[in-house]
């Protein structure tokens, strides 16, 4: 059996003048959790829809589980959670699981029940009456319920509260430990860095980098604001500027704003001689985090 679960060669999709995906060469190995990271509109969803044969490539090709995403035998082994999940509002959760379960040749009741329990989902209520988060859970359960070898999860945790996000992470680790391969798309780093072994960064339809999570973390930028008591003088700023991994220093009254690339250790030590009241770390967008890959 091939060790490669997803392989794309020069995969390209244009919508008129829009180059949604351009020359994508991707290789995802069996058993890995692959983070597919990029800002909204970068082509993540288009890539997944190409893999499932919802879209036909303008150029290039993709091989999924050794075959085509159009082949029912291949699809049987794939679990899919769309980014924009739409379910017939009159269906109860149970209808979804029963219908898709039948199409997949049956599911293990014990496993489905355990998923429902995990996510605390009542399968008896019509989907139309559920909150966004609960609807998302129906999507997650249907994606995992046939114990697929490959999971294509498009922005899986958007709309989930932190507790469920935690439960979701645990579930992904579990199925991954059992050998499943997971493609996880997201537009924010923290969502994938907790789970992914490798991360591919996509921008304007092009894969700009593939790196291990450790490597990414080392290269990631973060902004730290040190709120201090008392005046900030030139000597303080000079100390920050001289600290390792610090790439930018600016100041406003009572605050030192620092951008570090990699470890925050140097900046923290530079601040040690001041009276630090509060440290604020900003959730920055990907473009800032991965300036390195984007320029």
């Amino acid at each position: 059996m091939s060790d490669e679960v997803i392989r794309t060669e020069d995969l390209t999709k244009h919508f008129g003048a829009v180059q949604a995906v351009e020359g994508l060469d991707l290789s995802i190995r069996r058993g890995e959790v692959f983070g597919y990271l990029g800002p909204n509109g970068a082509g993540k969803t288009t890539t997944i829809r190409l893999l499932l044969d919802f879209l036909r490539p303008t150029r290039g090709r993709s091989v999924v589980l050794g075959g085509s995403g159009a082949d029912p035998a291949v699809r049987r082994r794939i679990g899919y959670l769309p980014g924009d999940l739409r379910l017939d509002p009159v269906y109860r959760g149970a209808d979804v699981f029963e219908f898709f379960g039948a199409l997949r040749g049956g599911t293990e009741k014990g496993w489905v029940d355990s998923l429902l329990q995990r996510f605390e989902l009542d399968p008896g209520r019509p989907v139309g009456e559920l909150s966004t988060g609960n609807r998302r859970k129906v999507g997650l359960v249907q994606a995992f319920m046939s114990r697929p070898e490959l999971l294509l999860l498009d922005e899986p945790t958007s709309g989930l509260d932190p507790l469920l996000q935690h439960e979701f992470n645990a579930l992904v680790r579990e199925v991954s430990a059992e050998g499943a391969t997971v493609l996880l798309s997201s537009h924010v780093l923290p969502e994938v860095e907790a789970l992914a072994d490798r991360v591919g960064i996509v921008r304007q339809g092009r894969l700009v980098a593939v790196a291990g999570v450790e490597e990414l973390r080392r290269g990631a930028r973060q902004r730290l604001d040190f709120h201090v008591a008392g005046e900030v003088d030139e000597a303080d700023l000079a100390r920050f500027r001289g600290a390792p991994d610090v790439v930018e220093v600016s100041t406003s009254p009572g605050v030192v704003q620092v951008v570090v690339e990699g470890s925050a250790d140097g900046a923290v030590k530079a601040a040690a001689s001041m009276e630090v009241v509060r440290i604020v770390s900003h959730e920055s967008d990907l473009e800032d985090v991965f300036l390195r890959f984007y320029t």
Binding site: P82, D88, V90
Partner: protein, 266 residues
């Protein structure tokens, strides 16, 4: 047939209400027949109508409205019945692929181990089945409810079967246009409007046919002409009025399905 069975199950409540409505229409119509039966004056009124108006309602001076075949043709087969079946069928047809696609539910269905071919075929068969069931309920209702009111006098069973086949044919043709256009484009509005335009324009043309000879050459391409051109209850079965729409439907379905297999989902 999991996909087809599920679609029927999803629509079962709506289909049941349509059936109730059709039975009520039949009951209402046949129960009025006895009061009309002897009214010779009505025939005179009809004879004075312009030919175009008469033909629009499927009336024929040779078959008086006061006879059962004339009455049933004028009140049911030539007016409300095809209209209702077309509305029902077009609604189903437009929703089956294009509607589901625009609601976003088709994509998740296709993430399961089913091919597009299976989905488009099973959903079409489900639509045909539901339309046929409604037509069958109508036929049974007419047989059961018509006799006590004398509304089936001089109506041969073959003629009745032919007329039901004809109305099913014209409804299926319009439903298939909605289904096919929807499958080919993924747009529900296009599916609905193409079938509606075909129905309304065809009906108007059929009415105009008798006003001007200039239009006569095109009558052979008008589905309404095939259907309304002859009162099968009185004049016997016209096989082409049944077979032509069925064959044409098969062709349109095949075209729509082929386009659906090739294109991107929206």
């Amino acid at each position: 047939m999991i996909v087809a069975a599920r679609l029927v199950r999803d629509r079962r409540r709506s289909v049941l209400w349509w059936m109730v409505g059709i039975v009520a229409l039949v009951l209402f119509t046949v129960s009025l027949y006895p009061s009309l039966k002897g009214e010779e004056s009505l025939n005179e009124v009809i004879e004075q109508m312009p030919e175009a108006i008469r033909s629009m309602f499927g009336l024929d001076t040779a078959i008086p409205l006061t006879s059962a075949p004339g009455y049933l043709q004028g009140r049911l087969f030539g007016s409300l019945l095809p209209l209702l079946l077309i509305v029902f069928g077009v609604g189903l047809g437009a929703r089956a692929i294009a509607g589901a696609e625009q609601e976003g539910t088709l994509e998740l269905l296709l993430a399961n181990p089913v091919t597009r071919r299976t989905v488009v075929l099973e959903r079409y068969l489900a639509m045909v089945g539901m339309l046929a069931a409604l037509a069958a309920v109508f036929a049974v209702a007419l047989l059961v409810l018509g006799a006590p009111f004398g509304a089936l006098e001089d109506v041969p069973m073959t003629g009745l079967a032919g007329a039901v086949g004809g109305v099913f044919g014209i409804a299926l043709l319009h439903a298939t246009v909605a289904f096919g256009v929807g499958a080919a484009t993924g747009r529900r509005a296009w599916a609905l409007s193409s079938a509606t335009v075909l129905a309304v324009a065809g009906y108007l043309f059929q009415g105009l046919l008798n006003l001007t000879d200039a239009l006569r050459p095109i009558r052979f391409v008008l589905p309404w002409h095939w259907y309304l051109g002859r009162n099968m209850l009185a004049q016997g079965v016209a096989p082409d009025a049944i077979i032509v729409p069925l064959v044409l439907s098969a062709v349109i379905f095949a075209g729509g399905a082929a386009a659906f297999l090739r294109r991107d989902l929206r």
